[in-house]
């Protein structure tokens, strides 16, 4: 084989993921995005949490850190503040980012520190065998929700936006080209950017929720996603059960690293 895979992967494949797992599709999208961005690999810091998706850091030929469950953004924040020249990508799963790492997530959004958070949302804790997460849609089944989850789910886009992220987008693994493009845009955005990558876990989510084949899940994504533009023409009720993909939000705000540099310069001057 050739091209982007060989350049950005370490060659320690096959990966650990199950047949049909969306993590590989996101990993491929990230490699394509890196290729389009053209950053030298030595200048990219790729930090992940814990869970199936977070094993990705071990496969990418970049400066990589596989952290602890939920803590990827905390590690990334310290590293980025100290080495602003590095292009920082933080890869997390849905439980990782929105449950155990939820506090770090909202505060990273608030600080608007220049990095790109990619949240692979497969609606489930995959590594532990299929428990519901804060992004599992209400009513869906999981090993810890055998009758269907009674929990309400976060809308990660709205959560990010409300917490202060300055670029928020969502794509899914069926729309892999869109996902690639949004990752590129998010990385080029100055500030804290969030890309939710809606993904598939055929083994631990699909099997319990009437989509036993990986291809079934892809078709489900095809049929249940609408673009931001399409959603704008619908009422909230009509769009309620749809996954709205595309760029949701982008704005400019003071970026933490720049503010830190300004503080250091003024403190030095005052001396």
């Amino acid at each position: 084989m050739e091209a982007v895979y060989e350049k950005y992967f370490r060659g320690n494949l096959p990966h650990i993921w199950c047949p049909g797992c969306g993590n590989g599709i996101v990993m491929s999208a990230i490699a394509r995005a890196l290729d389009k961005l053209g950053y030298p690999q030595d200048d990219v810091l790729f930090i992940s949490g814990i869970g199936c998706s977070s094993r990705m850091s071990g496969y990418m030929d970049l400066n990589t850190v596989h952290t602890a469950h939920g803590r990827a953004l905390a590690f990334a924040t310290g590293a980025k503040v100290c080495e602003p020249r590095l292009h920082v990508f933080v890869l997390m799963g849905d439980g990782d980012a929105a449950a155990i790492g939820g506090n770090h997530f909202i505060h990273a959004c608030r600080r608007n520190i220049d990095m790109t958070a990619i949240v692979i949302n497969n609606s489930i804790y995959g590594m532990t065998g299929g428990q519901f997460s804060p992004l599992t849609p209400t009513g869906k089944k999981a090993t810890t929700a055998p009758y269907g989850s009674i929990d309400r789910a976060f809308n990660l886009v709205e959560l990010s936006r409300g917490a202060g992220a300055t670029y928020v987008a969502r794509a899914d693994v069926y729309h892999a080209a869109l996902l690639t493009n949004l990752i590129v845009e998010a990385a080029q955005h100055k500030g804290f950017s969030v890309v939710e990558a809606v993904s598939t876990c055929p083994i631990s989510f699909g099997r319990y929720n009437d989509m036993p084949e990986p291809a079934d899940m892809m078709m489900w994504l095809r049929d249940n996603t609408i673009t931001v533009a399409q959603a704008a023409k619908l009422t909230d009720e009509e769009a309620a059960d749809k996954i709205i993909i595309g760029k949701h939000f982008e704005t400019e705000a003071v970026e933490y690293g720049e503010e830190m540099a300004r503080l250091l310069a003024s403190a030095k001057e005052a001396e």
């Binding site: 084989m1 047949p19 993590n23």
Partner: protein, 72 residues
Amino acid sequence: MKVLAKKFKVLLNQKTCKACGICMALCPKKVLGKQHDGKAVVVDEAACIGCQSCSMHCPDFCFVVKEAAADE
């Protein structure tokens, strides 16, 4: 009049294929089929339109699709 349709090579690494079936389900031109063990196999390369659906959706990076050289 000769149709100027581009030709493509579909390079498939079966060794890393986990037989998930996504590529064949998504291929718009039925270029890919299922082998006895469930793994993907190229059955009609000539039909390939180079859409890259298989290479973008394969979770195991099994595909490289590229334009065939003119004399191929």
